[in-house]
Every structure is written in C-alpha cells, then in structure tokens.
C-alpha cells in the first residue's frame, strides 16, 4: 500500500508528538511485585483529575458571576488547601507533574 507522508517541518512534529505521548504507561503491571509503583501513579492521577475538575467548575462559576464575594473567598481558600495538599502528596510519592498527566481521548489532556 502506498503510504503518503506529506509533511512540513518533521522536527517540529517529532517534538510535539514526543511531548504528548504521555507519562502514564499504557498498561500497569498489577503483579504484586510491581504493583506499588504503577498504582500510586494511577491513584494520584485520579486525585489530580478530581482536583482539577473541581477547580475548573469553580472558575466557571466565578466567571459566570454566580458566586458571592464571600463564596469566592471560601472557594479560593479551599482550592489553595487542595493544591498544597496535592503538592505534599507528589513529594511523598516522588512524582512530578508531567508524570500525572493523562490523555483522556475525547476529553483531551487532563492538564
């Protein structure tokens, strides 16, 4: 089959493609020996997912003007605490931001 590859600037595409290939392994070995490493990444990515979604929800509502000044303040404080907690967890598990990214297909990238 004749494959057409028509491309401008292959270097740039290689750079971008390698960026997005994702830190999360395609499959996690759930055998007892390796389970910890893979699962902690999975769990933290999940927590990060929820945190980011909460943050986004809050921003959407602030942007839409549906929160009072007091509510904005409280939401801000809560989000700040969540973010700090997340930072602590990352340090404890020795994981970096890039390692917790995940491409969710039609939802796009997590971050």
């Amino acid at each position: 089959m004749d494959k057409i590859i028509d491309i401008d600037s292959p270097d740039e595409f290689i750079e971008e493609i390698e960026k997005i290939q994702g830190a999360l392994p395609k499959r996690i070995n759930a055998n007892p020996k390796n389970v910890e490493k893979g699962l902690s990444k999975l769990v933290l990515t999940l927590i990060e997912l929820i945190r980011k979604l909460l943050e986004k929800q809050a921003m959407r509502r602030i942007d839409a003007g549906s929160l009072s000044e007091e509510e904005i303040e409280r939401v801000g404080e809560t989000l700040m605490k969540l973010e700090n907690k997340m930072q602590e967890l990352k340090v404890i598990f020795g994981l970096k931001d890039e390692e917790l990214n995940l491409n969710l297909g039609p939802l796009g990238d997590l971050m």
């Binding site: 494959k3 590859i5 491309i7 292959p10 270097d11 595409f13 290689i14 493609i17 390698e18 290939q21 994702g22 392994p25 395609k26 499959r27 070995n29 055998n31």
Partner: protein
C-alpha cells in the same frame, strides 16, 4: 553504500507506533497471554530507536532499514 535517513522516516515510525501499540482490536483477558512475560513497553521513538542502536553498536554494523533501499 549510502543510507539515506530522513526525519520523515522517524515521523512514519511515530505514526505507526501511535496506531499499533494501543489501538485497533485490543484484546485483554484470560485468553491473551499476560504481558508479565514481556517487559512493559514504554512508548516513544527514543526507546525503540535506542534498542536498535544498541544492537547495531554491539554488532558493529548498522541494520538495513526495512523501509529504505540501500543506495
């Protein structure tokens, strides 16, 4: 003999990797041999290119690219 290596070849490989490693008919389950017997594949052009390079180094000669005719 002269081997023409172009970045386009790398791009083609990346395009192939994007498809064959994770897409198409993906079957998991008891009927399929568990990957415990094969090391986890971390996708990335660098990972695969380097395993070929390592072998070339050990052998002392470059492999012919399956996608290119030697000139």
């Amino acid at each position: 003999m002269e081997y023409v290596t172009t970045k386009s070849k790398d791009v083609t490989l990346l395009e192939i990797l994007d498809r064959v490693l994770d897409k198409g008919v993906v079957i998991s389950g008891d009927l399929v041999i568990s990957l415990a017997e094969i090391d986890l594949i971390y996708v990335g052009l660098k990972v695969l290119i380097s395993s070929v390079e390592t072998m070339e180094r050990l052998r002392g000669a470059p492999f012919a690219s399956p996608m290119q005719e030697p000139k």
